[in-house]
């Protein structure tokens, strides 16, 4: 084979694209290493307590400093789960309405509106949350629930300020709904017409047919939820405005708390004052990294498994 032929066999596009792909992988690995390396002093000093203990002692005397992130990890998971529970029915309802029921004239307006909502800077949601959503929830939802159902553990804590897991979860749910519904809407729209015909021809009502067809796009609903969970876990600004920023470890929905990202955002500015705080914050970031990774991998795994069964 001549040199010329060899040169011709080289795929130019492959040469251009592979460094970009490599770069993404390297970046990922690099970030993981940086976080782990910088968090290491915290692990050495506190051991597993870094993640499994709720303590936050920031003092000028370095030997008395102790940091355990359990409250923030709990707050992140708790608020994100609330967010998912809020976003799931909202986004399904929105998708079905837009595709099946909305008159042609307002259909596109609704789609654009939800896409705009998805792109709004989160501080806008945060401010709205502080001045509108939290007072409303406090007055009309939290107080009544606490008053009448306080024997149920999740309603037992008094909604003193309104800033709480509950407020953060609801706000997050509203924020992630446009993301989740964008995926579901696409999938719902792409269901072949023949399945709709099959459902209706089998004597199903419109509601039953819709329910059956939603079963068909379950993986899309699932992916939408994973994506929403990912956004909720990472959301920082809006959450730190409404969660109360307190090292609290409570199942009570109306207690104030912390999330990992709000903790980092709040504490990073003065971390340099203390000797051991920065590694703890890096450890917090690493936890966020791991949660995000775990959720996405679990989601992909379940999705693949489903996909394998239900090929058309």
């Amino acid at each position: 084979m001549s040199v010329l032929q060899k040169i011709k066999r080289i795929d130019g596009f492959k040469i251009i694209t592979s460094p970009a792909v490599m770069f993404v992988f390297l970046l990922f690995a690099w970030m993981l290493i940086v976080y782990f390396y910088n968090a290491l002093p915290a692990f050495v000093r506190e051991g597993l307590a870094t993640y499994f203990k709720n303590v936050w002692q920031a003092t000028e005397e370095a030997s008395k400093e102790h940091y355990g992130l359990l409250a923030a990890i709990w707050g992140t998971v708790y608020t994100s789960i609330i967010a998912i529970l809020v976003a799931l029915p909202l986004s399904i309802a929105y998708s079905v309405f837009v595709i099946d029921y909305a008159p042609k004239k307002i259909k596109n307006a609704l789609i654009v509106l939800s896409d705009v909502m998805a792109g709004l800077p989160t501080i806008i949601y945060g401010i709205w949350g502080v001045f509108v959503l939290v007072p409303l929830l406090q007055k009309y939802v939290m107080f009544p629930l606490h008053k009448h159902l306080s024997f149920i553990p999740i309603f037992s804590s008094p909604p003193i300020t309104g800033y709480s897991y509950f407020s953060a979860g609801i706000l997050l749910g509203i924020m992630v709904t446009p993301f989740a519904s964008a995926i579901m809407r696409e999938a719902y729209q792409m269901i072949p017409f023949t399945y709709r015909e099959a459902a209706i021809a089998s004597g199903m009502t419109r509601y039953e047919a819709t329910k059956t067809l939603l079963g068909y796009i379950k993986p899309a609903i699932f992916s939408g939820m994973i994506l929403a969970f990912g956004r909720a876990v990472g959301e920082t600004v809006a959450v730190s405005l409404v969660i109360g920023n307190t090292f609290n470890l409570s199942i009570g929905l109306f207690s104030p708390g912390y999330t990992i990202s709000s903790l980092i955002a709040n504490q990073f500015g003065n971390a340099f004052i203390y000797e051991h705080m920065l590694p703890a914050l890096y450890a917090a970031g690493l936890a966020l990294f791991i949660i995000g990774l775990a959720v996405n991998i679990a989601g992909l795994y379940l999705f693949r498994k489903w996909e394998k069964n239900v090929r058309i």
Partner: protein, 254 residues
């Protein structure tokens, strides 16, 4: 009770401004295979979807005239289309069992939603019955929990037939049921038709005249939205009265 399974009176169907079916008076006797044949785009599928009011899924579609199913006008006041569809089952051109439901659930879903069975045993019983009726039971009895993806095209189509039969309809509408099925699967489905017509009235849409000749008792030739000729299959194929029909059955007109 009428002597006919299906009867249409001055039936006209429009999509927006376009008239697709141009005044059809048709009588389908009970317990026969009635083939509706004609070239693509002549309105066969549209006509078929008027019989179970499936056209209502299309917002553009408009129906004028009457369709009598067992003597009752399905477009009359106060008729619930869902009741019509329980009497008139349908099989489609593309084998469309619900891919996310198991073989069992595909047959059971209509029964469950319409509360047609009282117990789990009765449901099992009915699912088995429908699959047997569709000549599919022996091939799937060991794997009812599998998804339809594991079935061949012909098996999928027989599953769809079982899904329709489970509701115990009186009439089966079949919209080119073998168009996406291989020759062996096609033969099985055609054999099934002979069996099913003892208890059901079958309206079969087909664009192959040979299939109509093989399986039907009566045939209607539809051309550009009009019913050109109707009659006993043998008569239509042996001595067609209309020139267009003759051209179509001899393969000159496509």
């Amino acid at each position: 009770m009428s002597d006919f399974a299906i009867e249409t009176k001055k039936l006209r169907i429009y999509y927006g401004e376009n008239e697709i079916i141009k005044g059809i008076d048709l009588k389908v006797p009970k317990n026969v295979v009635f083939a509706l044949m004609g070239p693509s785009g002549c309105g066969k599928s549209t006509l078929l979807r008027a019989f179970n009011r499936l056209l209502e899924l299309n917002k553009e579609a408009r129906v004028e005239g009457e369709v009598l199913i067992l003597g009752k006008n399905v477009y009359g006041n106060g008729v619930n289309p869902i009741d019509v569809r329980k009497q008139v089952g349908m099989v489609f051109q593309y084998p469309n069992p619900f891919p996310h439901l198991s073989i069992y659930d595909n047959v059971a879903i209509g029964l469950k939603l319409n509360h047609l069975v009282k117990s789990k045993e009765e449901l099992d019983e009915r699912v088995k019955w429908a699959l047997e009726k569709a000549f599919l039971w022996d091939e799937v009895k060991g794997r009812l929990d599998d998804y339809p993806a594991s079935l061949s095209g012909g098996q999928k189509q027989r599953l769809v037939i079982a899904r329709a039969l489970a509701l115990k309809p009186k009439i089966l509408l079949m919209d080119e049921p073998t168009a996406n099925v291989d020759p062996i699967g096609t033969r099985k489905i055609e054999e099934l038709l002979f069996e099913l017509k003892r208890e059901y009235t079958i309206v079969l849409v087909t664009h192959e005249p040979m299939q109509a000749a093989r399986v039907s008792d009566y045939v209607g030739f539809l051309y550009l939205g009009k019913l050109v000729e109707v009659g006993l299959t043998r008569e239509i194929f042996e001595k067609p009265k209309h020139e267009l029909t003759e051209k179509y059955v001899t393969g000159v007109l496509v």
